[in-house]
Symmetry: C2
Subunit: 209 residues, 2 copies
Amino acid sequence: MDIAMPLYDRFTALDAVGPYEVLSRLPDTTVHFLGADGTGPKKTETGMLTILTERPLEDLPHPEVIVVPGGYGTRDLMRDERVLEWVREAHATSTWTTSVCTGSLLLGAAGLLDGLEATTHWSEAGALKSYGATYTARRVVEQPGGIITAAGVSSGIDMALRLAELIAGRVAAEAYQLAIEYDPQPPFDSGSLAKASQEAKDHLAARSG
Amino acid sequence: MDIAMPLYDRFTALDAVGPYEVLSRLPDTTVHFLGADGTGPKKTETGMLTILTERPLEDLPHPEVIVVPGGYGTRDLMRDERVLEWVREAHATSTWTTSVCTGSLLLGAAGLLDGLEATTHWSEAGALKSYGATYTARRVVEQPGGIITAAGVSSGIDMALRLAELIAGRVAAEAYQLAIEYDPQPPFDSGSLAKASQEAKDHLAARSG
């Protein structure tokens, strides 16, 4: 099975690597990191981390699974008709078309979310509406047509475990969860808008501003 | 602040990228991915993912924080006296020396865990003993001397949030948890040896064998 993960400059590393760490364990499966904006090194938003891509999107027009990670760089991709056309064409034959974080905005820009429920990073909830999608604050949103969107950054791990179950069955997916020792025990309970304190939200707003 | 993360061929991607995604948000901080076995591209165990390193370990002898990710490649590093010497020297002046997964075996081989409690991936629990450490099945283990070890793969996210709290305070760390929307909701509860079903364990054992 071929899994296509488009990468681009200013992607968010965990959006891509969380699902990779789960899905690369599927039998007879290759996760392909494809250059969406040309091949070569792709840097995260901070510029501190670089993942290499050796092939362009066009090399893999018909993957069984698509995983679009998010990041600030999606803003450019959403205006790139070449990328949008690849997404449409690949989705036409894929079994699963998925996204993490603001990766869903790319699916939206390609016209794939019209009339559907979807999720994204909580800070971009409003952006989905312009693509005809209804934002829902769930962590993983499955819709008809094999479309699955995940919420912000770390939610890609949860999405990938569900996707692994859909592809290889529950026992296999549970085995991958054990392999990556995913028994989460965050030291705080601040991972969603509903749970975070006002102080934490203010801290984040001050840093982003 | 300088955070050093040694990379090497056959590392586990999420071991490195989980902590990166948290710690790169600390103010005035750079996460440096350093080539432990020479600079250049470093591939994960599957060969599907490549992270670039541009500088060798020796370029950063005195980072404030060390994060050693795990992976099959640690087996070679543990026999590389140049790498072990860097770990010892860097630890002598670091504020925090940490590991994820089998990264703790490298700390052990460098002599840093003698007489301490520590953790690692559940499958390598027995290996810590030969370094004078006592394996403990906790997800994040803090010890005197600024040493923090984390359990398998995904536990690096939890470790990094705790480390962020120690460095920048609780509100900042909670803000980073919100930024990466880390409100984990795995679809199963199979992330530890104690919780996984026998079927999941058997599945994993059959694949590893």
